[in-house]
């Protein structure tokens, strides 16, 4: 039977939904609550107190069109908010489900429900092309995928239904009926409890013909309408009837309460996407805790087709370890006294163009219009300086020839020989303007010197008694000359309380920067064989912000709370004054 190996089988076997808890895990905490915390705090501080509550949407679809020839579509859903001018702002995406015309996505999309505003949600469903299967969902370019259909609804319409679910028809230009999309809305609770669980099974039934089953678990939560909302999936263990999975970390947001019934299903993975059910069991989190304490096992049952009794199987689910912990949020740390400190580095390489010509990225317009660098400094600086306590920032330039004729890759922007600090965003702007007059653009583009300087400052602060976390903002127009040297410097700095935020101006291809951002999950490796302890880079192209697709605040603050949390959590550092876990 030809079900040819379709696309990204390896990607399809990975775990989804649980929060990563490895001490040296470099994936940023995939926790929407952290992002909204930081953005929320920023707006509230400016007196903008929106009345809203956070809503989590779970999506599923049925009867999608089949776009692939030899197998079924691989659908992914993207959700947008329609703004006043009709433009669509992307809010979030689900994951890609392989080979299914009736997908139930696990990844939830969070949106703020504002009572007094009409929020029109637009959903687009895409069939993700095979060649993109290995890429993280965030980086997929939608115009390269096959469009499967669109649905629209108003958020308040979902919220006012009794079971908070709505079914929408998917349509395209010619209004054909392309399937149905179901949306379930639930309020998010900012709870800090997480449960770290180690699952394994014994004596599972063999569902494969020539080898053993490839089992994985899918955990779903039962909501009021008796529907099951999937919350997470373990990775697939090949060829094993007694599998042991990596620990699953569930937040209380995901499992509801300790007594909410969860359905744990064990499937045999098939590359065709038709995973065969091996068995299921219903346990609440409290019952799982009891199983681990009393070292008991739960038998799987196989639901019977007729109205007879379910068949009790030999296969059993065992909970090896159950740990309940408290996870503090980014704001918990900041409000307890952790300081963020900003440092700025500006690109003075010749690729920007002669500052005297109007086409240069460094052109200072006499009419007062800001150039790309000034815009980036102001927009980014305003957001981050909000979190900086003393508003004194070290500011450097790189790639320029200073007055003594030498090209420096980390010269003081303020032109002073004694210190590199400026005061406030205005200070950065003034230093930038005066540096343009005194420094000649040269090259090449190297980040390693400024990264080393920032790492030096961060490591010196370790000996002081107040906890400081540093953010280095690099504004650049272009392509790195020395990728290896930069990677080496970043890997050396990856163990320190430092994040590097790279903002790209101009229209170059920033593919190198995206590699440094390590969003594809590949940790940076230095030339000495050392691997980055964590992902400390975030890259934001200015043109994405200006085209209105992403808001400035959201783009910048997206990874920062996660990187900060990965540092403090891996070292078991709590907010000041908080009780030890």
């Amino acid at each position: 039977m030809g079900n040819c190996l379709h696309g990204d089988v390896k990607g399809g076997k990975q775990a989804i939904g649980g929060v990563q808890q490895r001490p040296t895990s470099t994936t940023a905490v995939a926790n929407n609550a952290a992002l909204n915390d930081a953005v929320d705090f920023f707006f509230r501080s400016r007196g903008q107190y929106p009345l809203f509550s956070q809503i989590e949407l779970t999506l599923s679809a049925s009867n999608l069109i089949d776009c692939d020839i030899t197998s079924k579509s691989d659908p992914m859903a993207v959700m947008y908010l329609m703004k006043k001018d009709g433009k669509l702002e992307e809010i979030g995406r689900t994951e890609v489900i392989l080979n299914s015309l009736n997908p139930s996505w696990i990844e939830k999309i969070t949106v703020s429900f504002q009572f007094e505003v009409v929020q029109t949600l637009v959903f687009h469903v895409y069939d993700v092309d095979t060649r993109f299967h290995n890429a993280p969902v965030k980086t997929l370019k939608l115009k390269d995928q096959d469009f499967l259909g669109e649905a629209t609804c108003v958020l308040s319409e979902i919220m006012t239904r009794p079971n908070r679910t709505v079914s929408l028809s998917l349509t395209c230009n010619n209004n054909r009926h392309l399937g149905t999309l179901s949306v379930l809305a639930e309020e998010t609770t900012a709870s800090k409890t997480v449960a770290d669980i180690n699952f394994r099974c014994v004596n599972l039934d063999n569902k494969d013909l020539f080898s053993k089953s490839d089992p994985f678990l899918r955990i779903s939560r039962i909501v009021e309408s008796n529907a099951a909302v999937p919350i997470c999936r373990t990775e697939v263990v090949d060829n094993n009837l007694n599998p042991i999975w990596r620990p699953v970390c569930l937040t209380m947001q995901q499992f509801g309460s300790k007594d909410t019934p969860l359905v744990i299903e064990c499937f045999d993975f098939n590359t065709s996407g038709n995973h065969e059910l091996i068995g299921r069991t219903e346990k609440s989190v409290a019952e799982l805790e009891r199983l681990s304490l009393q070292k008991e096992a739960a038998n799987f049952v196989y639901p019977s087709l007729s109205h007879g009794r379910n068949k009790v199987l030999k296969g059993q689910l065992i909970v090896d370890r159950f740990v309940e912990k408290v996870q503090y949020s980014f704001l918990d740390y900041i409000s307890s006294g952790f300081e963020l400190n900003l440092m700025v580095a500006v690109d003075f390489t010749a690729s920007n163009g002669d500052p005297r010509t109007p086409s240069s990225l460094h052109y200072i317009d006499p009419s007062g219009r800001s150039n790309s660098y000034q815009q980036a400094i102001m927009e980014v600086g305003e957001v981050i300086q909000f979190y900086d306590s003393d508003k004194r920032f070290p500011a450097w330039g790189f790639g320029g020839r200073t007055s003594n004729g030498i090209v420096s890759h980390a010269f003081n922007l303020n032109g002073a020989s004694y210190g590199d600090e400026v005061v406030g965003v205005e200070g950065i702007m003034a230093a930038y303007a005066s540096a343009l007059r005194n420094v000649a653009l040269a090259g090449p583009t190297l980040f390693s010197h400024v990264v080393d300087k920032a790492a030096n400052i961060a490591s010196q602060s370790l000996s002081q008694n107040s906890p400081k976390y540093y953010v280095l903002l690099i504004i650049t127009d272009g392509v790195l000359t020395d990728m290896a040297g930069t990677v080496d410097a970043l890997v050396r700095a990856s163990d320190l309380p430092l994040s590097v935020l790279i903002v790209g101006v101009g229209n170059t291809d920033f593919k190198q920067m995206e590699m440094l951002d390590a969003d594809n999950g590949r940790r940076l490796e230095s030339s000495t064989g050392r691997i980055a302890t964590r992902d400390i880079v975030q890259f934001v192209p200015m043109k994405d912000i200006h085209s209105g697709q992403v808001s400035v605040v959201q783009a910048l603050l997206e990874e920062l709370p996660g990187q900060f949390l990965s540092y403090v959590r891996s070292r078991n550092i709590n907010p000041l004054g908080a009780p030890a876990i």
Partner: protein, 149 residues
């Protein structure tokens, strides 16, 4: 006067032995190059972890500050099966990565290194943390710095 080094073998990822992912019983050992250390410090065996073992074992060793510290530490991940230890991969860690050049002494360095197998091919990543325990005289001057945990 002797100083203590605390090493915690945390975990390893993507271990492959004989072209197949390691099934179980992985162990990691740390040893300094040179004459000072003949013996290796070993963690306990992770029986269930498979190709993603987790140890979280704290190991301690001492060295006297009179002699020179060796320049390289070797980290070896092996797989224990049928009584003997089969080497899966080794990493070569320059000791100056954790002796105070990039951070003050006493700082907990969380490090990750590429593992190389005996054919010189990449074979996974090992994660561990190292810390040189500050002596009492270092601590006497004021409160213990915050970040040095």
């Amino acid at each position: 006067m002797s100083r203590k080094i605390q090493i915690t073998g945390i975990s390893a990822e993507d271990l492959v032995y004989n072209k197949r992912p390691v099934k179980k019983n992985a162990v990691v050992a740390f040893g300094m190059a040179g004459n000072n250390w003949k013996h290796l410090m070993r963690t306990s065996v992770d029986e269930t972890g498979g190709d993603y073992p987790v140890w979280e074992d704290k190991l301690e060793t001492e060295f006297s500050s009179g002699k020179e510290l060796p320049t390289v530490m070797y980290v070896e991940v092996s797989c224990r099966s049928s009584g003997e230890d089969k080497r899966v991969g080794t990493a070569r860690v320059p000791v100056k990565d954790f002796t105070g050049e990039y951070a003050p002494e006493g700082f907990l360095h969380c490090l990750s290194y590429r593992l190389w197998d005996e054919y010189g091919k990449r074979n996974g990543i090992v994660n561990f943390s190292v810390r040189i325990v500050p002596t009492k005289s270092d601590l006497k001057s004021g409160l213990r710095p915050f970040w040095l945990r």
